[in-house]
């Protein structure tokens, strides 16, 4: 497999929020690549900046926030495009949105407009990027897309409103919409958190298919290690706006080098181990972004913390291959095993 086929390269991304007259450094220099036909999973606790990262790639950051530093590059078929330098809602950015990079949001219940039919909303996507497409052929395409996503009676459903759809069907419609223009990159922001487990499995199956059949590059955001184990090719573990550990799925699951990754792995139940398995919730809670701890952000909750950790945030260290970690004591962590 060609591992160099990066479609999006994020380098040293910094995003600040200026809400409530205060500066909140939400993303502090994250770097990663999204590659063709691969799934990059971003995991981390609530509030660590996963959605902000995805929105930054789409230039969909809310008001009072901006990309402070770093670059986001889209490796398009006719050359590289620096997304971070594009005008936020300008023509070039709009051309990328939906057509080359599509996004699925966290909550399918609110992501569709309640006053338009699902068909109308998918047609809009199609017609935005194919201005010559007639409404009739757009609707036909929408029906096909809904059918592909496993929605029964698509000819009828296409004319229904979102409130007539179940949560799972709405999320499938969102995926249908996202896939309408066959984008090269799909950013999926916790696409299944709002859905029940069986539907979750179906949605992930769909995404696997996209990856293998259409070679779509996928960035999947989740806070569920079980999902990671099943879908990821590469994993980025985020904590308080940093990617504290990055590696292939084997690297991260089998030889975690960061105490946070280890703690995350310990805190989830493993299927098949039975109810006697010991679960260790991570002690303490995520710090308030406005009164961050000194030094390493994870240090107050870390079993491996040492003096140095309280002084400064450790730099990124390469463990081997693409496996990298931000921890002074990673050797100790690795040695300790799983």
């Amino acid at each position: 497999m060609n591992t160099n086929a990066a479609i999006i390269t994020v380098k040293d991304l910094n995003v600040n929020f200026y809400t409530n007259q205060r500066c909140n450094r939400v993303i502090n220099g994250v770097s990663f690549e999204i590659k063709r036909g691969r799934t990059l999973c971003i995991v981390g606790e609530s509030g660590c900046g996963k959605s902000v990262t995805a929105n930054a790639i789409m230039q969909l950051l809310p008001e009072l926030s901006r990309i402070e530093k770093g670059s986001i590059t889209y490796h398009g078929s006719d050359g590289d495009i620096r997304i971070d330098q594009l005008d936020k809602n300008g023509k070039e950015m709009r051309k990328l949105r939906g057509k080359d990079i599509a996004i699925i949001f966290q909550d399918p219940m609110t992501a569709l407009n309640p006053v338009y039919t699902v068909g109308f909303q998918i047609n809009e996507m199609l017609q935005a990027h194919n201005p010559r497409m007639s409404r009739k052929s757009a609707t036909e395409k929408s029906i096909d897309l809904l059918k592909d996503m496993g929605i029964p009676l698509p000819e009828q459903r296409v004319n229904e409103y979102p409130h007539q759809f179940s949560g799972g069907m709405r999320q499938r419609s969102m995926i249908a919409m996202a896939m309408a223009c066959a984008p090269r990159v799909l950013l999926a922001d916790e696409p299944t958190t709002a859905l029940d487990v069986s539907i979750q499995a179906q949605i992930f199956e769909l995404m696997e298919e996209l990856k293998t059949k259409r070679d779509t590059a996928i960035m999947l955001i989740t806070h569920d290690m079980g999902v990671v184990a099943e879908l990821a090719d590469e994993v980025a573990v985020m904590y308080m706006g940093n990617i504290v550990e990055f590696g292939t799925i084997e690297d991260v699951l089998n030889s975690p080098a960061h105490p946070y990754t280890k703690a995350l792995l310990k805190s989830i139940p493993v299927l098949g181990k039975g109810k006697t398995q010991k679960l260790d919730p991570i002690r303490g809670s995520t710090p308030d972004p406005f009164s961050r701890p000194k030094g390493c952000q994870f240090q107050p909750r870390c079993d491996y913390a040492c003096k140095e950790c309280e002084v400064q945030m450790p730099d990124e260290t390469l463990v081997n291959g693409i496996h990298r970690v931000m921890c002074f004591n990673y050797l100790e962590v690795l040695e300790n095993g799983k």
């Binding site: 809602n89 051309k95 992501a111 569709l112 407009n113 006053v115 809009e124 409130h163």
Partner: protein
């Protein structure tokens, strides 16, 4: 939908009874009666008690209050709205003569306030916190606070007396009945009545628009690569306009109430002028008829609101 409207009207019947009784009672409780207003105070001394009693009995005012109410109600059910106590003209004729003027003024004001209010509100929301937005917010607050009559008087002083742009009052010059010929008479009262409602519509549509723009579906729309005007109008405004339409619908009765005031100031020969005159002279049949109309109007407004919401929001169904 037809059955829905029929049911609404059925619900209305007990309400009409109660309200018509209350209006009747209100007139009864006012000191004096219609006869006192028909005879000037100077003449009052010279008119004999018998003559007064005679007048009262011809007008049916000698009967006790509840009896008179039920006679009025009985006539109403037979489709007879009664006659003006002073001029003897049929009330239905009087209403038909004045209603078009009031409707014309109200519809014009409604158009002005709806168009200007939602346009300015949306504009404000899209330029949130800009100088224009702040200026409009202040203007809106002033607009809500200033009483309509004061606004009307200021408009007359400035545009009629100082600038001379518009005629002093009335609805048309004698013999010039074509709409275009009497348009200049309509402009100022319609703008005054319309603008006094614009402020509320503007504030409401700004808030509604800001709320809508913060919703996820707007972000979804943007993520599809749609141009900003489409994101803001086709997605943002389309959802925001439902509550605005509801607000405007519920304010229809207020619009007519405002018309009563504005008609007085601009000598606009509408229902309002006739109504106030009738209240002053205790002309019960006219007051009752207009009161009746107002209740119907409130009901009509609520039906319009229900129909509008069902049209605008696919999640809402008639039931």
């Amino acid at each position: 939908m037809v059955s829905y409207i029929l049911r609404k009207f059925l619900h209305l019947i007990p309400m009409l009874f109660v309200i018509s009784f209350l209006i009747y009672l209100g007139i009864e409780l006012m000191p004096g009666d219609a006869v006192d207003f028909m005879i000037s105070p100077d003449e009052m001394a010279t008119v004999s008690a018998e003559a007064l009693a005679q007048m009262r009995s011809t007008l049916g005012l000698d009967k006790p209050f509840p009896v008179r109410y039920f006679i009025w109600l009985g006539n109403l059910l037979r489709g007879d709205f009664g006659y003006s106590l002073q001029s003897g003209v049929a009330v239905s004729t009087l209403v038909m003569n004045t209603l078009p003027a009031t409707l014309e003024l109200s519809v014009a004001a409604l158009l002005i306030s709806t168009l200007a209010g939602s346009f300015l509100g949306v504009f404000s929301a899209l330029r949130k916190n800009s100088i224009a937005d702040n200026a409009l917010s202040i203007a809106g607050m002033i607009g809500v606070a200033i009483p309509q009559f004061l606004f009307g008087l200021i408009a007359i002083i400035v545009f009629v007396f100082n600038l001379g742009w518009f005629p002093v009052g009335g609805r048309m010059a004698p013999g010039q009945e074509a709409f275009l010929q009497r348009f200049e008479y309509l402009v100022l009262p319609a703008i005054v009545l319309g603008l006094s409602m614009t402020a509320g519509v503007m504030r409401y549509s700004r808030a509604s628009m800001l709320d809508s723009l913060n919703r996820d579906y707007v972000k979804t729309a943007r993520s599809k690569g749609l141009p900003e005007w489409r994101v803001n109008l086709v997605h943002g405004f389309r959802v925001a306009c439902t509550p605005v339409a509801v607000l405007i619908g519920f304010r229809l009765p207020m619009l007519i109430g405002g018309a009563v005031v504005i008609e007085q100031i601009f000598q606009w020969p509408g229902l309002g002028v006739m109504f106030l005159g009738a209240v002053r002279s205790q002309n019960t049949p006219i007051v009752m008829m207009v009161g009746f109309f107002s209740v119907l109007l409130v009901l009509l407004a609520s039906i319009i609101v229900d129909i509008l919401t069902a049209i605008l929001d696919p999640r809402i169904k008639f039931n």
